[in-house]
C-alpha cells in the first residue's frame, strides 16, 4: 500500500472514530423527534467554552428547588451515580419530567442523562450562539422562552433552537 493510500486510510479511519465519539448526539439531531421545554437562563459566558447560553430547565429539576439559587437539574441523592433516565410527560404545549429512574424505561419519550458529576446532565444544558446573539437570547430567556429539543429513541438529546413560546 503506497503512502497516499495509507494516509487516506488513516484520515478516514480517524474521522470514523470521531463519528463514533459523537454518534449519540448526531443520532438525536438526525433521527430525533422535537419536544418543547420551558427554559430559564443561568449565566451567559463560560470562559472555557466560548459564547453560549447556559440553559436551566425548571420542569426537569429533580428536587424542585429554585433555579436562581441552585442552577441545574439537581441530583438523585440515592447513594449511587451513573445513568439517570427522565421520563417526559406533556403539560400543555411543553414537556416536563414525569419520573427519574436508574433503569432505562421500556418506552419513550425519555431523556438519557448522567449524574457522575455534581448534578444530572443530559446534554441540553447549553446552547451555542455568537456573542451578539447570546446577549439577545439572554433577554429572551428572562421574559420566558422554550427550547426545541430533539430526542431519539434511546433518549439522546440535542438543543436545536431557543425561542419565545
Amino acid at each position: 500500500m503506497n503512502r497516499i493510500a495509507v494516509t487516506a486510510v488513516i484520515a478516514v479511519g480517524q474521522l470514523a472514530l470521531v463519528g463514533v465519539g459523537v454518534a449519540p448526539q448526531l443520532s438525536a439531531r438526525v433521527t430525533g423527534d422535537t419536544y418543547l421545554m420551558t427554559v430559564a437562563p443561568i449565566d451567559p459566558i463560560d470562559p472555557f467554552r466560548g459564547a453560549y447560553v447556559a440553559l436551566d430547565y425548571p420542569d426537569l429539576r429533580h428536587d424542585g428547588s429554585e433555579p436562581i439559587d441552585a442552577a441545574g437539574l439537581g441530583a438523585l441523592d440515592d447513594g449511587e451515580e451513573g445513568a439517570v433516565f427522565i421520563t417526559l410527560v406533556q403539560e400543555g404545549d411543553v414537556w416536563a419530567a414525569g419520573a427519574w429512574t436508574r433503569d432505562r424505561p421500556d418506552s419513550g419519550p425519555y431523556l438519557a442523562c448522567d449524574d457522575r458529576s455534581w448534578q444530572i446532565r443530559c446534554g441540553i444544558e447549553s446552547y451555542f450562539l455568537p456573542q451578539d446573539q447570546a446577549a439577545a437570547t439572554e433577554d429572551l430567556l428572562r421574559d420566558g422562552a422554550v427550547a426545541e429539543v430533539r430526542i431519539d429513541g434511546r433518549g439522546n438529546a440535542a438543543v436545536v433552537d431557543v425561542r419565545a413560546p
Partner: protein
Amino acid sequence: MNASAPPTTRPVPPRELAWLRSEVADWASQGIISEDQAARITTRYSADTHTRFSIGRVLLYLGGGFVGIGLIWLVAANLDQLSPVSRFIAVTVIWLTFLVGSELLASRRVSPPLVGAARLLAALGIGAVLFQAAQSLQVPAFEPRLLGLWSAAALLHGYLTRAYLPFLVGVVTGVAWWFTQPLWDGPSGLAVVMLFGAGAVLAAGLAVLHDGRLDAFARTWRAVGAAMALLAMFVAAIPDVGGDDVTWTFWLVSALVVAGVAAAVAVATRPGVRALEPVGAIVVLVVATLIGLWTTGTSTSDVDTADWLHAATSVIAYVLLAVALVALGTVREHAALTWMAMTGLVVFTTFQSFAVFAPIVTGAWLFVVLGTVFLGTGFLFDRARRELAQALDNDTSTSASTEGSDR
C-alpha cells in the same frame, strides 16, 4: 559470505563508533587485521543516522507538543467568535494539514525529527478534532470513551506508518482510558489493583508479540507493563485497599479478558523463555489481587501480627518483582526497567515504613531500619545483576563457539 553484496551501513551510537574505531586501529597496528580490513569494517558503521537525543530533536518534539496542546487550548478558550461548526471545520483542517504534511515530509525523506514533530502534531490534532466535535455537539459531560477513541485514532496512525510518536500518544491516552473507563462505572480500590495487573499482562503480551517486528514499540510496551506491575503491587499493599466490594462492570471484565487473550496469543506464538514475561505478569495480577483482598484493618495505632504479616508479604512480593524486572532489564538491555524497579522499591519501602511501621518504629530508628532494608536490597540487586550479566556473557561465548565449530 557473498562478496558481491553491497555493504550496508548500520547506525550505531557515536560513543560506540568511537570505541570501535580505536579498537580496529589497535588491531590493525598489532597485525591482527590488515589496514584494508580495518577500513572496510569501520565504513560499515555510521553515527549520522543513529537515533539519539539532540538539542534539535528535543526542541522539535517540545515545539510539536506545545503547539498541539496550544491548539486544543485555543479551540477551547478563544475561538468564541466562531460557531461550533466553524470551529470543528477549522480544527479538522489543521489536523488534516499536519497529517498530510507529515506524510509528505516522510515521503521526501526529510530529517526524521522534523517528520516526527509533524506526526506528533497530527496525533495531538486528532484529539483536538474529537474533543471539538464533542463540544460542538454538546456531549453531556466528560466521557472516558473520548480518550479511548483518541487512543485508537493515534494508534491507527502509529501502526500504519510505523511512526513512534503517534504510537506514544496512543499509548499514553490508552493507558488513561484503561483506568478511567472501568472506574467511571464502578470505582473501587481492588478494581484499580486488577486494572494495573491486567494492564501489566496486556502490555507484557504485546511487548513479546512486537519483539523482532517493531522493537521500538516493544520497548515501550515493556516499559508500560513494568510500570503497571509495580503500581499493581504498590496499590495492593496499601492497607485495606480491598475493603470495598468490586463491581464487575462490563469494562472491567473486558479488560481482564483482553489481557488474558494477549497473554495467551503471546505464549502460543512465542513459546520458550519469552513466554515468562506474560506469565510473570499474570502472577503479579494474581498475587496483587490476593494481597489487595487481604484486609487487616485501618487502625494506625494498633499494629498486630496480621498487619506485620501483610506488610512483610507485600515487601517480599515487591522485592521479588523488582528483582525480576532488573533481570528483565538486563536481559533485554532495557535500562528504564532497572531504574523503574529501583525507584519503585525505594518509594514502596518508604511508604510502607511510614504507613505501617511508623507507629511502632519511630524517629531515628525508622531511618536506620529503612536504610538497612535499602542496603540489603541494593546488595542483592547488584549481585543478581552482575551474576546475570556474567551468565549471559558466558552463554553468548558458548553459543558463538558452538556456531563456529559447526562451520
